[in-house]
Subunit: 664 residues, 2 copies
């Protein structure tokens, strides 16, 4: 009986007050409308758009019609006298129009008199799945691959979710590609997926291994200028299109982190990319060639993509797109934009954002990424890019993304790729209302205040993460291997220097940070002249990038009047306070959120608050061994011991989400 | 090389700035003066006083002289023209005078013109060691028993330390006494210790097992009115005094928590105590008979000592002292005073304080106890008591007490027993200056400010502990067995109710707390009329004892204007903030404290700050399952999960200090 009581108590914890609604598991994402009992009259073009409206539309009659002259994937919605007409040039356009209408319904917006005209900013809005053939997902924090044994119902939901936010392409496998992905057997599996996603306007793509002609073709070489190699690729591509007629193309990671590439045969990235582009061209396929390259010999990893790719500017076929990560290193909480974006003038480019939070707390931290993308687009004009890719945060967890709020990043990615001028706040508001039925415009005034606070939490979350992990331009000071948690000291014997934090933070008795000015690695020169001079001067360099570009003396005077060391302490502590504040806001929402999701998010926010302390303590105590300066009195002092934190290990691989952080 | 670097870093952590002084291990306690090179001229009575002055006194000539008419253990110190005279009626008095002089030297006070006259408030100032024959120490958090294989050097230091603060008695073994303590072999061991301590004016005492006549005497009974039993005790006592001529007497825990006692034979506490008093009387020995009794059947444990002992008031021999714990339950962070103290008018009584922090964070938390004793003496007039006992916090750890600041409680106990009107602040200041060479009157002004802050930390530490553990009158909600950390839910099947927290906190949907008013257990009636009516009314009951005396409704309005629930949350959070603040103050003292002790104390303060969070989170989340009220927005919200905290166990016994607290 006592045991029963204790169990009952535990159950009560997650919901001490009566929850407003029944439990939800997050599997329906932001598409939580129930099927209608009586279908509205939907007429016109048959297809997925019609089916969706028949199932979910609660309003008056809707006509779906084809109309030439509209942009690819674009649509118009006009309503008058209770009748609505969606017009588009394609099935996909009609589908996007239908989801637009359903979104208006779900967010409670007026639909009496609509005159909407929409078209996507980018033609290609694509997810990159880093899924391996054995079902693991590299940097996947939400379970195993949804493509391993694709469940039709799950694939349908995946298709609907993507289409509802305008995503129209998906790369099914990891950029660290196994050659076997091009085997006939594997292609048949991809065909199954392609068939399930086609109704939702989604084309499939594959990451390929550049050495495939050798590894599965039996050739002696994969030299892109070798006739046998070209023939092998031509045959393989023909086979792919026989199996998947609307196949989208290849994503290629070549000569990067040990992957094979054209340089292995004395050729350039352009030679490799163009060869593939030529064989894909007749099928309307594209090559997305990644610029994520760096070699251990270089004195500044941040310089290298530019150094390798700039000489090739203008040499790529028109169906090659160079896919560049937003920053020059690797998806850190904050990086400056990759200078290639403004430097390459004659080459189509696309940006690769990372939705999966490899460096941002995995599926344990609430970090809403739209503000990071907005920051990127304030430097790189959206129109200068050809497309947008997002490394997916999706797995076979019931809630898809591990953290309910990570769904917002999937959602925001699609919406941003459709329209980069949407504000992070607009997107957060529409996502929150659809996903949690929480609206800042609710008539319930306490609830409306709480919702505004929650929107603010989402908007502030990325900066908070920067603060408690890597403020003031710090980067790459995370744990080895799984990349979760702080390890600024990580530097084991035999590991290449540019995989260790000290290479990046360069802490010493003088100060902290990487001198990338003209007196250092000269990385600043890769930026336009105005930015170059701005970044080059420690007194004009934005403080949020200070240690990225400068080796900053501990006593450097900041704009706040504090020393750099004191400011660093303050930033870390700000991060901790912010993470705790997020929890406070969420806790207050308990009466308005279903028990299950409330409890699951609360548990994650508690981890986040504890992890924030861990990051602060580990980084400050470690850097203090160089700064020899006291932690200011007005910040909370570390409560963990450096030696114990340095011994701590999380026993997980790069395919798992840690159950929690530091546990000493 | 890398490994070496990492190790070097770790070493640096504890001392990022150059430490002011060489490392210290705390073994010298507050007696850190080095031996002088040239001994001063010490004349007069030979003995320990002379030896101590010859070794440590740096001033002018001192004469030690006997003088009749002075109180037992009292002394005078007079100095003029560089010459000092210490006069006393006994060797012990001279010794106390010598230590007084040395204390003035160590605290840098003027000694040019002294005219001091001192005498102890209590004749008996005694430590209770809860040491077992196998070397374990019950509730000992500083290693094993110092008496197991008494090291003469260590015993000498123990003697000096006690004498320097006026302690003149020590009970060598646990009140849960093994009968074997009275075996001839064991008595010979006690004699060795007595011989080593005698030069420091310390008499030894023993805890006895009331069933000894049966267990080691071979008798059929231990009935105190049985002639054979009396004879056995008489013979045993004679033996003891043959071996240890100045033996002090017995400490007895009888009919309590399973220990045998006179009630087993149909006799009363008075029968038992008086029999022992009679056999000790010819030797000038005393019986300290503990009133710590309670039975599982009673509806209020707090009532029971009174119920058992009040009927016996006036029936005890004059060499019996009833030893009563300061509070009616058991050494909680805050209790009202035990009502026996004001109720028993015709019986000599002594108070038993607990220096070892059984319920106050063991040797991990800095909790300075003098303010607790001062609070006790504001209710119980010192003159109403015969003596003061302190349950020792001493073990064979190099620093004696596990926590450097726990030494302050040993120090303060002696000083308070000598003079209960000394303020906690006076005592803290003289201890801190002697122990850490830290003085609030230092000429270095930043240091002097920091020292004042540290004094404040010591003075505030007990209330902080109350706040983060058991505010507003809460008590007995600690973990089972080892008593470290929160377990307000602890209630395993088969454990007697009065050993489980729910018996005490009685949380339910209405409120929290034990109704001890006239409508409840009527415990208030055991207090004098004025206090009774004060405590009985929820509106006049001091808020710091509110749930001790009342079952307080969650929405009860507190003097702050907040509801009781909100106030509870606030108090817990205050405790957390205070614990963090202690760490901040200590960190700032790093340049002024030797590396070793700085690092060791810092590590403990970090545990304390983390433990405070653990207590807050566990208690608030658990009580929230009853209150069904949200945690206020303006306090930090719990970052741990109740279900995980409820599963957490510390795998230690009651003889160990936990390495740290909650580690999820």
């Amino acid at each position: 009986m006592k045991r029963f009581l204790i169990s009952a108590l535990v159950l009560l914890v997650a919901g001490w007050s009566i929850a407003a609604t029944h439990d939800e598991d997050g599997s329906r994402l932001w598409l939580r409308a129930d099927s209608v009992n009586t279908a509205a009259a939907i007429t016109g073009v048959k297809g997925t758009a019609m089916a969706e409206l028949q199932t979910f539309w609660q309003g008056g009659p809707v006509t779906l019609k084809r109309q030439k002259g509209l942009a690819k994937d674009g649509y118009t919605i006009k309503s008058q006298n209770g009748k609505t007409v969606i017009a588009a040039a394609s099935d996909a356009g009609l589908l996007y129009g239908a989801y637009h209408l359903l979104r208006l319904q779900q967010t409670g917006q007026g639909i009496a008199s609509l005159d909407i005209s929409e078209q996507p900013f980018y033609d290609l809005r694509i997810l990159n799945h880093w899924d391996n053939p054995n079902g693991t997902v590299e940097r996947g924090f939400a379970g195993r691959s949804i493509f391993l044994n694709p469940d039709p119902a799950r694939m349908k939901m995946y298709g609907r979710a993507n289409a509802s936010v305008g995503i129209n392409g998906t790369v099914l496998n990891n950029v660290n590609a196994k050659p076997e992905v091009l085997s006939t057997e594997s292609l048949q599996k991809s065909k199954e997926i392609a068939d399930l996603l086609r109704p939702y306007g989604i084309r499939v793509y594959l990451s390929i291994n550049f050495a495939s002609p050798i590894r599965i073709g039996g050739l002696q070489t994969a030299d892109p200028l070798n006739a046998d190699v070209v023939r092998w690729w031509k045959d393989k591509v023909n086979e792919i299109y026989r199996i998947i007629p609307d196949f989208g193309g290849f994503l290629v990671k070549a000569n990067s982190e040990g992957e094979p590439g054209p340089q292995d045969f004395g050729r350039t990235h352009a030679d490799g990319a163009n060869m593939l582009a030529d064989v894909l061209k007749p099928h309307d396929g594209v090559v997305m060639w990644r610029a994520f390259v760096y070699k251990p010999q270089s004195s500044d990893r941040a310089n290298q993509a530019y150094e390798e790719f700039m000489p090739l500017d203008g040499q790529f076929r028109d169906n090659v797109i160079i896919q560049v990560k937003n920053g020059p290193i690797d998806f850190q909480p904050r990086e400056p934009y990759s200078p290639l974006f403004t430097a390459m003038q004659k080459t189509p480019m696309m940006v690769e954002f990372q939705l999966t939070q490899e460096y941002l707390g995995a599926a344990n931290h609430l970090v809403y990424l739209a503000p990071m993308w907005q920051e990127f687009f304030s430097f790189v004009k959206p129109a200068s890019l050809r497309a947008m890719a997002g490394v997916a945060n999706i797995g076979d967890n019931i809630n898809w993304c591990g953290h309910h709020f990570a769904q917002a990043n999937w959602y925001a990615f699609g919406r941003t790729a459709w329209n980069p001028s949407l504000t992070p706040q607009d997107i957060a508001e529409e996502w929150l209302e659809q996903t949690f039925s929480l609206s800042a415009t609710a008539t319930n005034s306490p609830l409306s205040t709480l919702c505004s606070q929650l929107i603010h939490v989402m908007l502030a979350s990325r900066e908070a993460c920067v603060n408690y992990m890597m403020p003031l331009g710090l980067h790459h000071i995370f744990a080895g291997s799984h990349h979760y948690g702080p390890e600024p000291w990580y530097s084991p014997r035999g590991v290449r220097a540019d995989w260790t934090p000290p290479y990046y933070h360069k802490a010493d008795s003088i100060g902290l940070g990487f001198n990338r000015t003209l007196s250092g690695s000269a990385n600043v020169k890769q930026y336009p002249a105005e930015l170059c001079s701005l970044y080059n001067d420690i007194n004009t360099c934005p403080e949020n990038l200070l240690t990225w570009f400068h080796h900053v003396p501990w006593d450097h005077r900041m704009s706040s009047g504090r020393t750099f060391w004191d400011e660093l302490c303050l930033k870390y502590d700000d991060g901790v306070r912010e993470a705790r504040h997020f929890l406070t806001v969420w806790d207050a929402l308990q009466p308005y959120v279903d028990c299950q999701r409330f409890g699951e998010v609360q548990r994650k926010l508690r981890i986040q608050a504890r992890d924030a302390e861990w990051w602060r303590d580990a980084c400050l105590l470690y850097f203090q061994t160089f700064s020899h300066r006291p932690i200011p009195q007005d910040v909370e002092h570390p409560v963990h011991n450096l030696d114990e934190m340095m011994k701590f290990r999380i026993p997980i691989s790069m395919y798992e989400n840690p159950e929690s952080g530091y546990t000493k």
